[in-house]
């Protein structure tokens, strides 16, 4: 198990290096001369050459990458152009908020998805399964930005049940209760698509497991259907882990629409605002941090999977 963990951690390193290369290349292919934009259009050619040399931009690309990568490794992602503060602290704060929203949404999506998928798999051919299928189909097709707006209209302003925006009430806010109230609408909105995906994947996984020979063999040994379901669920767990990881990763990067609609101070909103301000260092850092989180989630998922399934450990 420890060996497996080490191996899995080791295999994440080349991916992280790859991620950094992709981000670096993306910076390089962005149209426009960074030096010119830093110094302004009226700057002298001499000043530009000086700055180019100072920033190391006259070096060959691999050298530039290495020096950029070294900064990256030390957590130095540069300063925000718009806000003049280190990008990293900005991004990490926002990422924390996104993590809260994404985790909440993931829990909602998981409960919903397992219920829908389970009903659909175990009640095949009945009305309840058809309804579950229809719900999951709609929920994966939903455009989050418009559903979010509709929830605001009817549940926030209309019924006055939940706040429309933000993470805490600015006047007498704070505390867990306030956070929860603010979480409900964006959380549910963000959970819709992953809930549908989880439902559909879980459905096919349950159908697969239930059609395996050992289920029937357990029946022949006299096990009750309830107990058989318990063992069947155990056998869906490795797949469920994979789905969970994929969807949590998706949520970490995918709540941008929801954050924009609900003004949730997360990474998505930060990136969105940085887009309008063309604050590229922030966008860059946002992408790197969420990719890092995604890789970490994948390692965790694989380790959990190995803990459940002995065949993976081998």
């Amino acid at each position: 198990m420890t060996l497996y963990l080490l191996k899995r951690l080791g295999s994440a390193i080349p991916i992280l290096i790859g991620v950094s290369i992709v981000v670096f290349i993306t910076i390089k292919i962005i149209p426009g001369d960074p030096v010119a934009s830093l110094l302004g259009p009226t700057s002298s050619p001499q000043a530009r050459a000086e700055l180019t040399a100072r920033l190391g931009l006259d070096q060959p690309l691999p050298i530039q990458y290495l020096s950029w990568g070294a900064h990256l490794f030390q957590g130095d992602l540069g300063d925000s152009i718009a806000k003049h503060v280190p990008v990293l602290s900005l991004v990490l704060d926002a990422f924390g908020n996104t993590l809260v929203l994404a985790t909440f949404a993931a829990v909602v999506a998981f409960v919903l998805g397992i219920l829908l998928g389970g009903v659909s798999a175990l009640r095949r051919g009945r009305v309840s399964a058809a309804i579950s299928n229809a719900i999951s189909l709609f929920s994966i097709s939903v455009p989050q930005y418009s559903i979010g707006l509709l929830l605001i209209i009817y549940l926030a302003t209309g019924a006055g049940l939940f706040p429309t925006a933000g993470m805490y009430d600015p006047i007498n806010g704070g505390g867990w209760g306030d956070l929860f109230l603010h979480l409900v609408l964006p959380g549910v909105t963000a959970a819709l698509v992953p809930a549908g995906i989880i439902a559909r994947m879980f459905r096919s996984c349950v159908i697969d497991v239930m059609s395996m020979d050992f289920i029937d063999a357990m029946r022949s040994r006299g096990l009750s259907e309830l107990r058989i379901l318990k063992h069947a669920f155990h056998n869906t767990l490795p797949t469920l882990m994979t789905i969970a990881g994929l969807q949590l990763g998706y949520l970490l990067g995918g709540v941008i629409f929801v954050e924009t609609v609900f003004s949730w101070p997360g990474l998505g909103l930060l990136v969105y605002q940085s887009i309008t301000q063309r604050d590229l260092p922030v966008i860059q850092a946002g992408v790197i941090v969420s990719a890092l989180a995604f890789v970490v989630i994948n390692v965790v998922v694989d380790v959990l999977q190995a803990a459940i399934d002995p065949r993976v450990r081998a």
Partner: protein
């Protein structure tokens, strides 16, 4: 094989002969939408980009403006019809581009030697590490707004999953008898890829891509909504949502129109994808 499972197995293995009813309905809906947006110049009652400020924010059912008007007095039905052209195209083109590139990469990895396979698949792993939506937004942001940049961004994020499916399906065929036979007869890899592998992996890719079109319509409208795709005043469903958003509290039903258009198109493609999946007997796998 003993006889126990015979009745079930025989029906399961056989490709179901007919497309499910739901998928036919979905195909019909898609057909209707396509015809409607193609006939937009004929069907649209008004100019989609020029409004009359005197008639702004007319409600649904207003005479002359069946689905109402937006904040600049533009007819929403006309904008939906014209906007559907851009919305559907920007849902379709990235999937087509990604399908071609992704299939090629998948074939290359699936039929290549260990080195080629490793190089392609590990590169894809790197792209997998980026959250798709955020990556699309970052690419679109870096390239600047505009329809073509949004299409490039969406194509990039759709390539890895398609390539992975193509690779899995190709690898599954590698040991098949007809492949051995083709190889033994001295066929070139490229000809094996086109004649033997492509027809066999095509169903899985077509099924997946059909559902992706639905997703891509939602994403591309989302990019426009964020101001990264098609720029106003061009009519486009995502742009329309963004335009109408400020009237959320006064005229929410107007906002519902483009949202419903996106939902209907997206559901239709997803249902069609499901139906094709059961028609071709393609398994849904965790990806």
């Amino acid at each position: 094989m003993t006889a126990i499972a015979l009745p079930a197995v025989r029906t399961k293995r056989r490709r179901s002969r007919r497309l499910p009813v739901s998928a036919r309905i979905a195909a019909g809906v898609i057909g209707l939408v396509v015809v409607a947006v193609l006939l937009a110049p004929v069907l649209a009652p008004h100019n989609p980009t020029q409004g009359q400020l005197g008639e702004r924010l007319a409600g649904i059912g207003t005479a002359g403006h069946l689905l109402g008007t937006d904040g600049q007095g533009r007819d929403i039905l006309s904008r939906l019809l014209y906007g559907g052209r851009l919305s559907l195209l920007s849902g379709l083109i990235p999937v087509l581009v990604a399908a071609v590139i992704g299939t090629l990469l998948g074939l290359l990895a699936g039929l290549g030697n260990r080195f080629t396979n490793g190089a392609v698949m590990r590169t894809l792993d790197v792209f997998y590490a980026f959250p798709a939506v955020l990556l699309a937004i970052a690419i679109a942001a870096a390239l600047g707004s505009g329809a073509s940049n949004a299409i490039v961004a969406l194509s990039v994020i759709l390539i890895p999953p398609i390539a992975r499916i193509a690779e899995t399906e190709t690898a599954r065929l590698r040991g098949a008898d007809f492949m051995e036979a083709a190889r033994a007869s001295g066929a070139r890899t490229s000809s094996i890829a086109i004649r033997q592998v492509l027809p066999n992996i095509a169903p899985a890719i077509v099924v997946y891509c059909t559902a992706l079109i639905g997703l891509c319509i939602v994403y591309s409208a989302g990019l426009s909504y964020l101001g990264l795709g098609i720029a106003p005043p061009a009519p486009e469903w995502g742009v329309m949502i963004s335009d109408l958003q400020q009237y959320t509290f006064t005229k929410p039903e107007l906002l519902l129109m483009p949202a419903l258009a996106i939902l209907v198109a997206s559901v239709a493609f997803n249902v069609l994808g499901d139906g094709l999946g059961s028609y071709f007997n393609v398994r849904q796998e965790v990806r």
